[in-house]
Symmetry: D2
Subunit: 283 residues, 4 copies
């Protein structure tokens, strides 16, 4: 499979769709996926278009230049990707390893098209898992004193590996906005509550004390504001008065695995466009 | 069907279950439902027990007195009800009538074992619906000036009808704590968000602006604190970036109907015990 | 709102998307929805495209002729609709009226863009509901002797009202293939099981006896084979050993209402393309 | 935690509940869970009662004898278990290892209170997983010729390990009724369809061809009839026309893991009573 994907957003206007599809047709591309969305409040046009490169009359290197005039005409924000180029993905984790294990299992099963060259943690717990999978493991112990310094080192490691995507698989440290600014729309977090309910720490305990009848989890892009970034995916599960806090955790962790993996897969398949505090998922 | 129901709560202790079931057996009752729950944090015991009165050796009038010694021994809070005595239920509504219509339809279909002698509103919109069903309709226009005075009149109407349960079927007025205090655990509200997210007004708009991927609704008992009473039932539905605010409302209203009717039915069937800000649902 | 919708299916080929969008752009139309799907097994291309007619350079009458050459080039099956032309919809019902009532309620709330000139039944039960809504009611009692004769009369009534869509809202008669052939992909049924489980009569009883932990309902187009037509929508709800057959019915009817109304709405908004025994839902 | 659990079924009668709870109270036991269910069609009474053994005046060895007269009086089928005695569990698997891995992960996380001394397969694929977890692995290649002979060997292995529970974690061989008869209500299977739909092989392919909008999975006890044993748990997930057969498999496998683990956990915690082709889940 050898596909190109264009992700486009711009002010809505007549002819955008026609211009993009004509561009692909004129160079003999066969469109395999095309979807558009218009946000009426902001009058913004979003598009995802994917086509087979077999028989396409432009080489990969030529596509961006050839598309540039169309992009300029409509003042597009756009991104061109190729389905056979895997994103380089780093996983951050603390002491709960269920999401990490799940990602690695799915990766091995071919469900997550990415390379995972490194795992970073503020604790040693994930070390043996990393080793079992032949993945480099970096431990950066973090306390109130050394946070900025350690984050700087984390950043250097990420840069040295050309990391495209950071997955926070239950990483229990708040990233500084300096760090976040380097990876806008490229850090995916799993928060173990149905946001915006139960922001912050111990959401299962908060939910248990509140007496809710359903709990949920949320995967979102990280922004400078805690637990406020654009939501990618959520899911919920029913609980009852019989369920102990331990049951909340167990049921919730089943959701965390599934929801984080969906968000990561959509990102890797370039199916997400984020704008403001929202996302469009072209699934 | 001619059943008695005991709802019990007290500090947990050995022998409670045995004492209650022995009481029923000794008077030749056949238990048709028995369920207990222990809240470990507060060490509280909850029980719902329902038995067939056919062949029971005590008359209805004698049961409470006969049970009193057991209740005292364990310092129980308890309530005795009979399945063939319908609760007198008043419905409060404003301009959105979908929940009202739904309750009346289910009532007519025999799904809600209650009497509905009156509908109260701060607007005239529901008048014809009330008339179609042969139910008395009272309109109490409310503004910032006359609120207490009008609430006083509402209360008089409720009292004159011996109302047992008040259902707020999208009633858009905040009740004063004076009013609420008269009907502790006897006012059921439907809030059109997944509480504790999106408290207050316009929750669908709040959810739309937040960019959530799932919306929910919550039915709860009213307490003096806005949208903070014990949650009885919640449900959720998936939405996507394609859904307009109108879609949120449409999908949410489908949930509102179902969730409110479940909460009301459980209350009518005496399946709810509330304690602190939580509920036990013996379903 | 004054939109045109094109529903297209044909063998997949390069340039179809470009040709269709160019056609709209060249006549100054603004696309508000465009979605495509390719069924890889049959190599079939499906498209739904909707555009604003304001400023469009062709009159409604001219559009089909102008589009014809494109349609011929790609051997398209296609349908052109206008969002402000309501489909004329007939509802068939027997003795269970919950789906009928629900459709009428949604229709009144503006959620179903159609005209409902008539209700047809093999029983008199729905008569007063029809009258309350000012809708013509036709009763055709059906037994083993008179089925074909009565169906012929039903068909005449439908034709005299130029009916576009037939909704079987729990109509408990099997239609003959003669009748069905006149309304291919234009008769929507609600079957109260999670098809293909529990085909035929009494599916709730079948489910109760089987001991399933979840029940469902299915809305589908009617074909000559009983309960085998293309599935439009399904939904499920959890049940437990505590639930009586009556609970199955109550919970299932809540699903029936929602699922049938979704299927009807999608059809009315021209969001469904059916092919073979499958459907594409452009939602 | 040191609890006793009684699972009881018998013809319904007055006084059963009282007799059982009195028995526990008279020996100074504190009931921590008590739930009953009456199947009205067969007039069968089911009960699960769990009590703390701390302070209980009977030793474990004495309980059964002391309870015997009550059991005889009501002609009970009954089972006495202790929460700190783990069931010895064997896992059967073929080539798909996701359920096996999931069970082992949950076991390691303390979510499944059992011992897993062995894994049996008709293929070598799971060998390294077994070794990683220090679990004995037995491979019994099976073809049409050697089935009975190999099953006999499997049975000997199970017996030599005193196996209490067999979990078929995607084991793609049909067990003979000889084998099944030795483990009535003690073999749990996961079938990757929403039974009774799509019995037999390749259910995801069957579902994909049928065009359903929701797929499901089913965990059930094995009986002599293929895919017909008492259902323990089911769950479903929504799919769309966009989903390929590969997506069905991926989404379905997420369900398989969760549903099988729920069924196994309930069995291990003695929360399941099966009767006829149904189960009561005391959750």
């Amino acid at each position: 499979m050898n596909h190109a994907v264009l992700l486009i957003s711009c002010a809505d206007n007549k002819g955008i769709n026609a211009a993009v599809t004509a561009f692909i047709f004129e160079h003999a591309g066969n469109i395999v996926h095309a979807d558009q969305h218009i946000d009426e409040q902001s009058n913004t046009f979003f598009m995802r278009i994917e086509w087979d490169l077999q028989g396409f009359s432009l080489s990969r290197e030529q596509i961006a230049d050839a598309f540039q005039p169309i992009a300029e005409k409509y003042s597009m924000l756009w991104e061109l990707c190729f389905s056979d180029i895997n994103l380089k993905t780093a996983i951050f984790v603390s002491k709960h390893l269920h999401c990490l294990r799940d990602i690695l299992m799915r990766h091995r099963a071919g469900q997550l098209p990415c390379d995972i060259p490194l795992i970073i943690s503020n604790h040693p717990d994930a070390k043996s898992v990393a080793e079992d999978h032949g993945i480099a493991f970096y431990e950066f112990y973090i306390d109130s004193e050394n946070k900025q310094e350690q984050e700087k080192k984390q950043f250097d490691v990420l840069r040295s590996h050309d990391i495209d995507l950071v997955v926070l698989a239950r990483y229990h440290q708040i990233l500084t906005s300096d760090f976040v600014d380097h990876y806008v729309s490229r850090i995916i977090n799993i928060h173990h509550s149905f946001l915006p309910a139960f922001v912050g720490s111990n959401p299962y305990l908060q939910a248990h004390q509140k007496g809710v009848k359903i709990i949920g989890v949320t995967s979102h892009y990280i922004t400078a504001q805690l637990d406020q970034g654009p939501i990618i995916e959520q899911d919920t599960v029913r609980i009852s008065h019989r369920n102990s806090l331990g049951d909340f955790v167990r049921k919730g962790q089943d959701l965390e695995r599934v929801v984080l993996s969906r968000a990561v897969r959509w990102h890797l398949e370039r199916k997400i466009l984020s704008y403001g505090n929202k996302t469009v998922i072209f699934d």
